[in-house]
Every structure is written in structure tokens, then in C-alpha cells.
């Protein structure tokens, strides 16, 4: 925590990497004061970056105001403004960045750039009270197995192409199951009886979901029973992830496993990873649903950690970084 300041560290965080515009306020001691999020749901098809950005522009002021109101603080009390600078969709990131810069200028507060993936991990560590877990981070845009080593979150394995959430959401959309796709696929999967052989692709420590998605869509159009297909798709996709997670757990010897990100809500994935953790005498933890998907509070909390270690950025250097990797970020607070 900032030793120079006698006042409590309070950071407002803005999230806008993809479909969600969120805002939260967190204190440097780990108190989470508010978390307000507005998700863009496209009328049809997937997320168009420009349309999502337009949604973010429309809701931004309301979401920020509501986050401050629920936190019960006046903006002048804030220590800093944090925003999610990447990775994500350019137009969406720039909308959040613009809001954050405007607030920082208007309030004369420092700006903090937060990496979205680091934020998913930090919120999980905070709310699950974990010191040093192996992290499985799964969402619409990311699929990463990571552990902390020598100042950074290292990537032990990741997807080589599409993310797990993206694979399942695209399948759900093509199957007419709507949005959000994962819970619907999972519900149908519970009624699956026949296991259909689908491509299981693990390359070393990495997974590949694009071939699995293509094959599942082909089976869908061939008219295979949807329940069986959902069942087989989920089992195959989750088992691939479990395999690389298990290898990372055996390799690193970490004593806890944290499941975070939007797809962490999946019951079946939780069940599988809990079994993996048990095999290796590690405890299993899953981020609560309100912190699983993209949210503002995780940016605020990670911003508070960064701010307390002096990591602020001048406005003119506050570029968004659409391809900002998890393992490029120095993490001095650990």
C-alpha cells in the first residue's frame, strides 16, 4: 500500500475490452465498493467491435455514475483512475480509454493502465484468498494456463487459435441456442447419451479449438442429435484444457488451482478441474459468478495494486494495447 499517503487508496476502474462496459471502485486494502456492468448483446450474430463500442459510448456515463453512487464516494476522493488497456477489441478499448482519460483530466488524478488478463487473475486471488495458485483463465477471448514466476504471470499453455468461450459461443449461435451460449450448451449436454468422436488437439502444452469447432459444426449440419453433440463437444473441449492444466500442476507443484474468467461459471468445467486438482493434492477454487465475466471491479482492484506500487501513466502514453499479452506485464506487487 502507498506509504506516502495517509489517505485510503481508492481506485475507480473501467473495463471495456469486448462486450462489457463496466466500472467499479476498489480500496487498496481489498475492499470492493461497487461493481456495475453493462453487457452488449448483439441482436444477431457475433460481436461487431464498432457496434459494441457504440453501446459502450451510450452507457458509459450512466455506468460510471452508478458505480460512484453505489460506492458512496465523491469522485474527488479517488486516488487514481484505472482502465483496461488490453488485450481486446480496438474500438471497445479506445472507448474505455477515452472515458478514463477524460475522468483523469477532469479530476486531476493519475491514470493507471491495467492488463485485462492480470485483472481476471488478481480478482480471483483476492476473493478466493489465494497466495500462489495455478490459474486456468477461460473466457470468450482467452484460454490460458498460467502461474506466477519471477515477477510475471507466465503462460504455461494457451490456445493456438480460438478461445474456449468463443468456440462454444459460436457453436451455440450456429445451433440457434442464442446468447450466452455456454450455459445452453451445457444444459443440452446433460441429456446427451452417445459420445461422438471429435478432434482432440493438444500440442505440447497448448490446445487448439478451431478444428474441434469446425468438426462440431459439420456434425451439426449433418443432423446429429443436438444433445449428443453438445455433450461430446463439451467433454472434448474441457478434457483438452484439463490435460494441459494437469500437466502444469504436476510441473509447477502449485498447491491450489484457480478457475477464473467468464467460462469459469460452467459447472461441468468446475467438476473436471476439481478432480484434476484432487489428483495432485491441490485445493480447487472458482471465482464467484459476479467476478467471473468481464467486470469493472477487477480493473479497479488491479489498478489499486498497481497504483500502490507507483505504476501510473501520463495521458500521452496511455495507448491501448489490443494484443497486450499476460506474460509481458511486470507484477511488482507479488
Amino acid at each position: 500500500m502507498a506509504s506516502s499517503s495517509k489517505v485510503k487508496v481508492l481506485v475507480l476502474g473501467i473495463e471495456s475490452t469486448a462486450h462489457t462496459f463496466g466500472c467499479g471502485v476498489a480500496a487498496g486494502n481489498g475492499e470492493l465498493l461497487s461493481n456495475v456492468n453493462s453487457e452488449y448483446i448483439p441482436p444477431k450474430g457475433g460481436i461487431h467491435p464498432r457496434e459494441a463500442a457504440q453501446h459502450h459510448t451510450q452507457v458509459a456515463v450512466g455506468v460510471v455514475k452508478e458505480a460512484l453512487r453505489r460506492a458512496g464516494i465523491v469522485p474527488q476522493l479517488l486516488s487514481a483512475i484505472a482502465f483496461s488497456a488490453g488485450p481486446g477489441l480496438g474500438p471497445c478499448l479506445r472507448t474505455g480509454a477515452t472515458v478514463a482519460r477524460a475522468l483523469a483530466l477532469a479530476l486531476n488524478k493519475p491514470l493507471v493502465l491495467v492488463n485485462h488478463c492480470v485483472a481476471h487473475i488478481e480478482i480471483g486471488r483476492l476473493v478466493c484468498d489465494l497466495e500462489d495458485p495455478l490459474v486456468v483463465y477461460v473466457s470468450g477471448g482467452n484460454t490460458i494456463v498460467s502461474a506466477f514466476a519471477e515477477g510475471r504471470y507466465r503462460v504455461f499453455g494457451e490456445t493456438l487459435d480460438v478461445a474456449l468461450g468463443n468456440c462454444l459461443d459460436t457453436f451455440a449461435r450456429e445451433a440457434g441456442l442464442g446468447h450466452p451460449g455456454v450455459p445452453k450448451v451445457e444444459e443440452l449436454a446433460r441429456r446427451g447419451r452417445v459420445f461422438i468422436d471429435l478432434p482432440y488437439i493438444v500440442k505440447g502444452q497448448d490446445v487448439s479449438y478451431s478444428g474441434l469447432l469446425t468438426a462440431a459444426l459439420r456434425k451439426l449440419h449433418e443432423g446429429v442429435r443436438l444433445e449428443d453433440l453438445c455433450f461430446s463437444l463439451l467433454e472434448t473441449a474441457f478434457t483438452m484444457l484439463a490435460e494441459v492444466a494437469e500437466r502444469a500442476l504436476a510441473h509447477t507443484g502449485k498447491k491450489s488451482l484457480l478457475l477464473t474468467g467468464g467460462v469459469a461459471r460452467s459447472r461441468r468445467l468446475q467438476e473436471i478441474l476439481r478432480a484434476v486438482a484432487e489428483e495432485h493434492d491441490a485445493s480447487f477454487h472458482v471465482v464467484p459468478p459476479e467476478y467471473a465475466g468481464d467486470n469493472g471491479i477487477m480493473i479497479a482492484w488491479t489498478g489499486a495494486l498497481a497504483y500502490s506500487h507507483g505504476l501510473t501513466a501520463p495521458i500521452e502514453a496511455s495507448f491501448v494495447k489490443p494484443r497486450w499479452r499476460l506474460d509481458e506485464v511486470d507484477v511488482p506487487w507479488r
Binding site: 503462460v155 459420445f195 468422436d197 505440447g204 472434448t236 478434457t239 506474460d327
Partner: protein, 220 residues
């Protein structure tokens, strides 16, 4: 377990459990791919049996190339286990700091030859690191073909080589250049100068891709 008594556990990995046992009076290593309770049973058996079969096949092929590796004694595809000869020696990762320069040169030249011969035959090891080499009376022997595959693809061959580079960088940094140059010389002697050059270029390219950010920046 009818024919083979699994014996005592010597290592529990993510993929399989290793046991030391005996068969027909010989010391054997039993590699048992246990069922994973969290997998769909059909998928579980499919993965375990295809991988067991592939490993046994490749171990036999590697033997034909004259590469020192465990000899397959018994395969049980129902239980998904392989009994193979038990090699006594020191893992290269542990032994390397104590070897003389001449010994290091010799070991890495031989390892390069093994890799070159396997690639020429269309086999990739899949986990070629100093942890998977054991020195038996000074002779390097290759272990753990659990991630091996048949492939004639330059990319897969380069990934094999890249794994060795990464292992050298992470655990034997000061010896990395010596080891890798000898490794490449041995490789060229078995796979040919031209192919060795192609593989080397591809290894550099792999390093510049996404995950190896520093190299990419210096190139840019």
C-alpha cells in the same frame, strides 16, 4: 494385472505412473496410463490406448534406427501399459554440470545424431529436453516417448529442436551455445547439411512468433 506385477511407484506424472518391477527375471519399467476419473470413459480409453500404442510403436522404430532407448517387452492395450527395459544411469539434466567439455561435446553430438535420424525417418520425439535423456555408462539414451508422433513436417521437427534450445536456456544457460552448436553438428551429420539449415531457420522463426516477444522486438 495378470502377467505383470506393477511393482513400486517411482514417479507419478500428469500423463502416466511409472513403476519399477520385474518380468521374466529382468528389471522393467512399467508405464501405466491410469484412467482419469474426470474424463468421459469412452474418450478416456481412446486417448489412453492410442497413446500407449503410439509410444510402443515409436519405441520399436527408434530401436531399429540404432538409437539407445528402452526396449519394449510387453504392451497391454486394455489396461494401457507398457513394460520396457529399465535403464540405469544419471539424467542428463543432473549430470551436465559435472561433465567435462569433451564429454559434453560428445553427448550433444550424439543427441543431434539421434534427432536427425529420427526426423529423417519421420519421427518426432515431442519432449526432447535434458530431463528425458539418461546417461548409461556415458552413452546418452532417449527416454519418454509419451508425446511422440510420426511426422515429416519441417515445423514439427523444428519444434523438437526448439524444445531442446528452451531446456538449455532455462536450466543450463552458460553451456547453451556449446551444447546447441554440437547438437546441430550431430543433426547435420544424420539429416544432411541442407535439411539441418532449413530446420535451424524454422527454429529461429518459431522463436520470433507470439510467445517469444523479445526476439520479435529486436527484429522489428
Amino acid at each position: 494385472m495378470e502377467i505383470i506385477d506393477k511393482g513400486t511407484v517411482i514417479k507419478k506424472g500428469a500423463e502416466a505412473v511409472l513403476y519399477k518391477s520385474s518380468l521374466w527375471g529382468l528389471p522393467v519399467l512399467v508405464k501405466y496410463r491410469r484412467p482419469k476419473p474426470y474424463r468421459n470413459p469412452q474418450l478416456d480409453h481412446h486417448l489412453r490406448s492410442t497413446r500407449t500404442l503410439m509410444e510402443a510403436k515409436i519405441l520399436s522404430e527408434v530401436k531399429k534406427l540404432g538409437i539407445p532407448a528402452p526396449a519394449v517387452y510387453w504392451v497391454d492395450l486394455e489396461q494401457c501399459l507398457i513394460a520396457m527395459s529399465f535403464l540405469e544411469g544419471i539424467v542428463l539434466k543432473e549430470a551436465l554440470p559435472r561433465l567435462s567439455e569433451e564429454e559434453i561435446k560428445d553427448v550433444f553430438f550424439k543427441l543431434g545424431e539421434y534427432a536427425g535420424a529420427m526426423h529423417a525417418r519421420g519421427i518426432v520425439h515431442g519432449d526432447l529436453t535434458t530431463s528425458n535423456v539418461i546417461l548409461c555408462s556415458g552413452v546418452p539414451c532417449l527416454l519418454d516417448f509419451g508425446l511422440s508422433d510420426f511426422s515429416k513436417d519441417l515445423e514439427h521437427h523444428a519444434v523438437d529442436m526448439h524444445l531442446m534450445v528452451r531446456a538449455l536456456e532455462s536450466t543450463h544457460y552458460s553451456l547453451k551455445d556449446l551444447c546447441f552448436s554440437r547438437f546441430m553438428e550431430g543433426y547435420a551429420s544424420a539429416a544432411g547439411e541442407h535439411y539441418a539449415q532449413l530446420v535451424k531457420e524454422r527454429v529461429n522463426e518459431i522463436r520470433r512468433r507470439g510467445r517469444y516477444i523479445e526476439e520479435r522486438r529486436t527484429r522489428d
